[in-house]
């Protein structure tokens, strides 16, 4: 009985000996260096704390970065939108700028966890958790977002396409580096975006399938100039359907093109079976449905009308 009780994480204490709240980035980086890999960054903590309690993450110290200045802003910078590393899902969801210039990202941020989670959980944290169907990773991947990462060695900016390395793994070393900014181009007039999510219920449910797409159309509104399609979980990382995107480039805005893209993405996607969140077969069929539905809504948002095949 005692053994069983020990297995239950409910009452488990978190094995952290120190909790620091640095007030500047250099101070935070110095602290990380001092612990030499044994400290872990915490922001909202909605992933870190459950992981610590379950024993899936071990850390001697937590370095809470939520008091760092200037990192909680949503800002326009020319044609780009910048999210500070501490911007929460609730902030993205209610930001007038994002609603206007990348509305589907605001929608996506509004589906994460629950209001309580969204009030503290950061978008940067959603990326860093490295889950293949993270609700904001998928739209940010479709938006060709880049992330800025700082360490004692300096600052680097890398595209999200190179950020996700495997399930739960990213290019960021959480014990030495801090993600300071997420940047992506705002949607232009000839672009449209769409976010779709399939879950067991409307709140507090992990996704069965998530898709985000951004389409760019020609001025005559007859041809697809470009399309970005991000889907999860259909691979160990958030997935871009690059083969399908290539086939859509230059394709006419027609039902036929949508059918073609759906079939292509169906072949490209490689989901796993999950007892709780849908079988492989179901997920693959739903990829088809989501690609068609997502593209058609994104095209409508770009101001195009999908015609029957000519």
């Amino acid at each position: 009985m005692e053994g069983i009780l020990k297995e239950i994480h409910w009452g488990k204490e978190i094995s952290v000996q120190q909790y620091h709240q640095p007030l500047s980035i250099p101070e935070a980086l110095d602290m990380l260096a001092r612990y030499d890999g044994k400290a872990r960054i915490i922001a909202g903590g909605t992933d870190v704390i459950p992981l610590l309690r379950q024993g899936d993450l071990l850390a001697d110290a937590l370095i809470d970065i939520t008091r760092l200045p200037q990192m909680n802003k949503v800002e326009a910078d020319g044609g780009s939108i910048c999210l500070g590393g501490l911007v929460t899902h609730a902030q993205v969801c209610s930001s007038a700028l994002i609603r206007e210039r990348a509305g589907f990202l605001a929608e996506a941020a509004g589906t994460v966890g629950s209001p309580q989670i969204r009030n503290v959980a950061t978008v940067a944290g959603n990326l860093i958790s490295g889950q293949p169907a993270a609700d904001t990773s998928i739209p940010l991947l479709a938006l060709n977002a880049k992330v800025k990462i700082i360490s004692r060695a300096g600052e680097r900016e890398i595209p999200l396409t190179q950020f996700f390395l495997g399930q739960g793994q990213t290019a960021l070393d959480c014990s030495r580096e801090i993600l300071t900014q997420i940047r992506f181009p705002a949607l232009q007039k000839n672009q449209g975006g769409c976010f779709l999510r399939l879950g067991m219920r409307k709140a507090l449910a992990l996704p069965i399938l998530v898709l985000a797409t951004v389409v760019t159309i020609d001025p005559g509104k007859k041809t697809i100039k470009d399309a970005a399609i991000a889907i999860g979980p259909v691979a160990p990382t958030p997935f871009r359907a690059l083969k399908t995107e290539a086939k859509l480039r230059g394709a006419p805005i027609s039902r036929g093109s949508l059918e073609m893209a759906a079939q292509s993405a169906f072949e490209e996607a490689n989901p796993r079976s999950s007892l709780l969140r849908g079988s492989l077969g179901y997920r693959k069929e739903m990829v088809k449905v989501f690609v068609k539905r997502g593209l058609s809504r994104a095209l409508a948002n770009a101001g195009a009308v999908v015609t029957e095949e000519v």
Partner: protein
Amino acid sequence: MEMKSQKIQPNLLLVDLLRDVLNLKGTKVGCREGECGVCTVLVNGEPVNSCILPAMKVSGQSVTTIEGLSKEDELDPIQEAFVDAGAIQCGFCTPAMVLTAKALLEKNPHPDESQIRQSLSGVLCRCTGYSKIVKAVQNASLNRKS
């Protein structure tokens, strides 16, 4: 109540600070992983899950628990509305439901039903008494002097 400067363990979570250190048992513990929402308290007026929030995070911040709503013998109007609508079955999720409703009505005194359901979506009621809970929030909203 104002908590004077006090040393706490660095691994202490807010819910344990409230229940075990300050002996405020109104905040409940359910899943301890941020799923069920019964541990909800307001930090600077916003609902958060206190079971996954390090207590250190609230130093210098304002925390509202269910104990902070009533004044002496007088219930908060939202609590009254819950009682009047029979929006309480086992009562376990009630503090969290009342506090999220409080946060909603402070920001948006006259929400529609979907806004109410959206704001309460982070607290699970396993008696499934949602209809009466929504009704209670609607009544509380109607009773407010706008």
